[in-house]
Amino acid sequence: MMRHSVFENYELDSPLATINPAVKLICSVVVMLFVSVVFDLQTLSLITGFGALLLLGLGRVQPLLIARALFPFVLFGLGFLWMNALLPRSAGTVLFTLGPVALSAEGLRNGVSFFLRALTFGVWSVLFVASTEPTRFVLSLVHQLSVPPRIAYSALAAYRYLPSLQIELDQIRGAHRLRGVGEAGGVRGKLQRVYRYTVPLLAGALRRAGRVAAAMEARGFSGTNRTWYRKESLQLRDAAYALCVFSVTASIVWWGMYSGTLMLWSGRLWE
């Protein structure tokens, strides 16, 4: 029943979709920047949970879609999890050894913290992506953040290119298979395959960039003295959203400080 991707979800109505895109983006980016310096599991999971609640409540995104959108983030976080658990930057208390592999408590905790962080970024990215109409995003970049139209429309082109990356890759793979290009095994074969996929991927991207730019220039999107059919404005609910995001995040941090669990970056990554 649910076939659409997270990039198409903005077509559905939700309270979150009515929030000004620039405000939404700034809220998400500020939370992400802040989360980068948080290391303890309690604060990280609370901020992730808060994002997920916003996504379900205000965004009305279906749980299955959220899970699917977060899948790449989970995979990525798992990579960091096992690398940090197996190879801590400094030796700590060893939990148990399995052959040559020693699992240390510090490494595991760092790994889990990296994993959670990837998830937090995922949730707050999806929060923006799943509820934002791309055109409104560009308009609010120009109207609220006074980004030059040329840059804003370039950003739109790049943003619209994101969901088609996977499709392009599948097409290239299909085209290679159709022409009977063998998928050789081994490290050498793998490297060859990566090169064979990368070049058409980049060429396709550049071709797309050229076409999009020509189309946009022909419509005068790069002009400076242009008028706008639709105008994005700031409303009371935008302020309410920002206030809600920042006050809840601040309370989570305050609670972490109060209960003594908050761990901020001490100036070094990977202790």
Binding site: F76, G77, G79, R150, Y153, A157, A158, A205, A209, R268
Partner: protein, 214 residues
């Protein structure tokens, strides 16, 4: 004689009246900004894939893996600079890829902005020294090497390399510079060359300059 003079004059007038092709003007065209933005997106995902390669290699061979593999994370800047040939292309590509990576969930987070700043500045220096006029292999390789040096100084402080033995630090530096030259400079140029041969770069600066030099 008079023929020669008139020839000279007509040459001069055509030179003066012929506008520079858009790709060689100092200001940015829409084509170039869109191209740069899309290169940033694609390379951000290639870089994220490379992070996975690094995680696997690192867990098998240890921390030196980072220095060996580092160069690929510079290749996007060199790729874009060779194609677009404008001031600050390399720097902007580095910042853009970092920004996309953060949104796409690289758990290193905001610290990546600093990484992008350092590496972007490093890759821009050799281009700036040639006043953004030369994009030959040596310049591109110098850009890769310079990025390596910048990023090494940065990781020296970030990961407290002074606690390590001097010989090891020197080995790491050398490995990283070689990686920057090969995986950054040469690979970035090879990828850009392959893409250029497909013909999709027509209208970009690289297209004008390679055609006029031939």
């Amino acid at each position: 004689m008079s023929n020669e003079i008139s020839n000279d004059i007509s040459n001069e007038t055509t030179n003066r009246s012929r506008p520079l092709p858009p790709a060689l003007r100092p200001s940015w065209t829409m084509r170039e900004t869109v191209t740069l933005a899309i290169i940033g997106v694609v390379f951000a995902f290639l870089y994220l894939g490379w992070v996975q390669v690094w995680l696997v290699v690192q867990s098998m061979t240890g921390p030196l893996a980072m220095d060996v593999l580092m160069g690929f994370w510079f290749s996007g800047s060199i790729f874009a600079a060779w194609l677009i040939r404008k001031p600050f292309v390399a720097f902007s590509t580095a910042m853009l890829t970092v920004f996309v990576q953060i949104l796409a969930g690289n758990p290193s987070g905001a610290i990546l902005l600093l990484t992008g700043l350092v590496q972007g500045a490093g890759s821009e220096v050799p281009f700036a020294l040639t006043r953004w006029k030369h994009y030959s292999y040596p310049v591109l390789m110098a850009s890769g090497a310079c990025t390596s040096v910048f990023s090494f100084v940065y990781t020296y402080f970030r990961f407290s390399y002074w606690e390590l033995a001097g010989g090891l630090v020197l080995t790491m530096l050398i490995i990283r510079v070689v990686s920057g030259v090969i995986l950054g400079g040469v690979l970035g140029r090879v990828l850009a060359g392959a893409v250029h041969r497909t013909g999709v770069t027509s209208g970009l600066a690289v297209d004008y300059q390679t055609r006029n030099s031939e």
